[in-house]
C-alpha cells in the first residue's frame, strides 16, 4: 500500500517519499502523487538548454540527475520517477521536497522561494535569498526572540494583484550543526537531514496552519563585515527576488516563463515592503543583523 506523509505543509503520497515526513491517514487527499515508472529521456532534438532541466512541448518538465534518477513533473501535483540503478532513496526523497516541489509550485502558479517565513503583524515576513547565506539561522535568531516560525525550505507564495499570501509551511527550521550550537541548541536532539550530514530539522513554536498575507520580505544575497539593510523599490526587489527562487531554470529561462515570473513578482513587490539585508560575516553578528532588520521594519 502506498504511504502518505506530510512535510512542510505539503502532503505526499507515493512509492518514494521525502525523508522527515509525518505519516498521515492514507485516505486523506494528497497534494503530490509520486509514482515510480519509466520516464522519457530528454529529447535529443531540443536546444542545448539547462543540463538538468528540460521543458517538453506538452508542458511537462523533466529533471535528470545523473546517478539519482529522472523526474517528470506535470500539473503541479504529479511526479513520475525513474530511479537510476542503485540510487540512494534518501537523495531521491530530498529532491522531492526541494527542487521538485518548487517546480510543482510554479506549475500551480505559486512562487517557490528559497528561505524561511516568520509571523509578523498577523501575516508572514519572508526571509529569502541565496543558498547557504544564513536565512534559516537568522530566522532561528528571531524565533528565539519569540517570533513564530511559519515555513522553511521551499516557501510557497501566491501572488496576485489583490495581494500575496504564504500558502503552506510548518514550524521547522533546517540548521547546520554549527549554527544550532551557536544558538545554544543541542543538534543531537533533532533528526538529521540524512545520515552523516550535520544538518538538522529543528522544531519551533508556530501558528495554526492557514494562508497568511505577506507583510514584508527580507532578501539576503551576500555577507559583509557589517550588516546592512536597504529598502528596495518594487523593481529593484523583483530583480533581487529572481535570485531567491528555487529551480528557476526549469520555468523562467524562456520568454513566456520569464514574463509570467516578472508579472507575479511585480504583484508581490508592489504589495509588500522589501529590504535587501546583508548579513554580518560571522555567525556571532547575526543578532545585530536581526536587530537591524527589526529596526528597518519599524519594530
Amino acid at each position: 500500500m502506498r504511504k502518505t506523509v506530510e512535510l512542510g505543509g505539503w502532503r505526499y503520497c507515493g512509492d518514494i517519499l521525502p525523508p522527515g515526513g509525518v505519516a498521515v491517514e492514507t485516505d486523506a487527499p494528497a497534494d503530490i502523487t509520486v509514482t515510480v515508472t519509466a520516464v522519457p529521456a530528454a529529447p535529443e532534438d531540443s536546444s542545448p538548454g539547462h543540463p538538468l532541466w528540460r521543458n517538453l512541448t506538452d508542458g511537462r518538465i523533466l529533471l535528470s540527475v545523473p546517478g539519482i534518477g529522472r523526474f517528470c513533473l506535470s500539473g503541479g501535483d504529479r511526479v513520475d520517477v525513474e530511479p537510476a540503478a542503485g540510487a540512494d532513496p534518501v537523495s531521491l526523497g530530498l529532491l522531492l521536497s526541494g527542487p521538485v516541489l518548487a517546480v510543482l509550485n510554479r506549475q500551480r502558479g505559486l512562487l517557490p522561494f528559497d528561505g524561511a517565513a516568520l509571523g509578523l503583524n498577523g501575516g508572514a515576513l519572508l526571509i529569502v535569498g541565496a543558498s547557504g547565506v544564513g536565512k534559516s539561522t537568522l530566522a532561528a535568531v528571531l524565533a528565539q526572540q519569540g517570533w513564530p516560525v511559519l515555513a522553511d525550505g521551499v516557501v510557497s507564495v501566491s501572488s496576485r494583484k489583490d495581494g500575496a499570501e504564504l500558502i503552506r509551511g510548518a514550524p521547522c527550521l533546517r540548521l547546520w550543526r554549527r549554527s544550532a550550537r551557536m544558538l545554544g541548541l543541542n543538534p543531537e536532539e533533532y533528526p538529521p537531514l540524512r545520515p552523516g550530514v550535520p544538518r538538522f530539522d529543528t522544531q519551533w513554536d508556530g501558528l495554526p496552519p492557514r494562508p497568511r498575507p505577506i507583510t514584508g520580505i527580507a532578501i539576503l544575497l551576500n555577507r559583509a563585515a557589517r550588516p546592512e539593510c536597504e529598502r528596495l523599490s518594487p523593481g529593484q526587489a523583483v530583480a533581487c527576488l529572481t535570485r531567491a527562487l528555487w529551480s528557476r531554470p526549469a520555468y523562467a529561462e524562456d520568454r513566456p516563463g520569464a514574463a509570467a515570473l516578472i508579472t507575479d513578482l511585480a504583484a508581490l513587490t508592489s504589495s509588500a515592503p522589501c529590504w535587501r539585508l546583508t548579513l554580518a560575516e560571522d555567525l556571532g553578528g547575526l543578532t545585530p543583523t536581526a536587530d537591524l532588520l527589526k529596526q528597518s521594519i519599524g519594530l
Binding site: 523599490s233 518594487p234 523593481g235 529593484q236 523583483v238 530583480a239 529572481t242 535570485r243 528557476r248 531554470p249 529561462e253 524562456d254 520568454r255 520569464a258 514574463a259 516578472i262 508579472t263 513578482l265 511585480a266 513587490t269 508592489s270
Partner: protein, 95 residues
C-alpha cells in the same frame, strides 16, 4: 570594442524581455538568464532608446525634459549607459 562617446549610436538589445513596474522597468537578459532593474530615469532612457539614437541626441532630449546642467546630465547618462552596455542591455554602433 566600441567605446562610448557622444557620437556613439545606441540601440536596445532586442533580445531583452522587459516589463514596466510603476515607474521602473525590469529587464530579463535571456542569454545570461539575469534580471536587471532600472529606476525611473533609467526606465525613461530605456523607453527613449526604443528608437536608436546617438548619445548626444539622447542627452539633448533628456536635458530638454529634466532640470539640471547639461554637462552633469551627460556625465550621469554616460555612467548609466556604460553599465547598460556591460550588462548587454544596449548595443553600440559607431557612426
Amino acid at each position: 570594442m566600441t567605446e562610448l562617446s557622444t557620437g556613439t549610436i545606441l540601440e536596445r538589445n532586442r533580445d531583452m524581455l522587459f516589463s514596466h513596474i510603476d515607474h521602473e522597468v525590469v529587464i530579463f537578459h535571456m542569454m545570461k538568464g539575469a534580471y536587471f532593474s532600472l529606476d525611473e530615469v533609467g526606465a525613461d532612457i530605456w523607453s527613449r532608446l526604443d528608437t536608436p539614437m546617438t548619445v548626444a541626441a539622447l542627452c539633448d532630449s533628456l536635458t530638454a525634459d529634466y532640470d539640471g546642467d547639461g554637462a552633469e546630465i551627460e556625465r550621469d547618462v554616460l555612467v548609466l549607459l556604460a553599465d547598460m552596455k556591460d550588462a548587454g542591455l544596449v548595443i553600440l554602433h559607431q557612426p
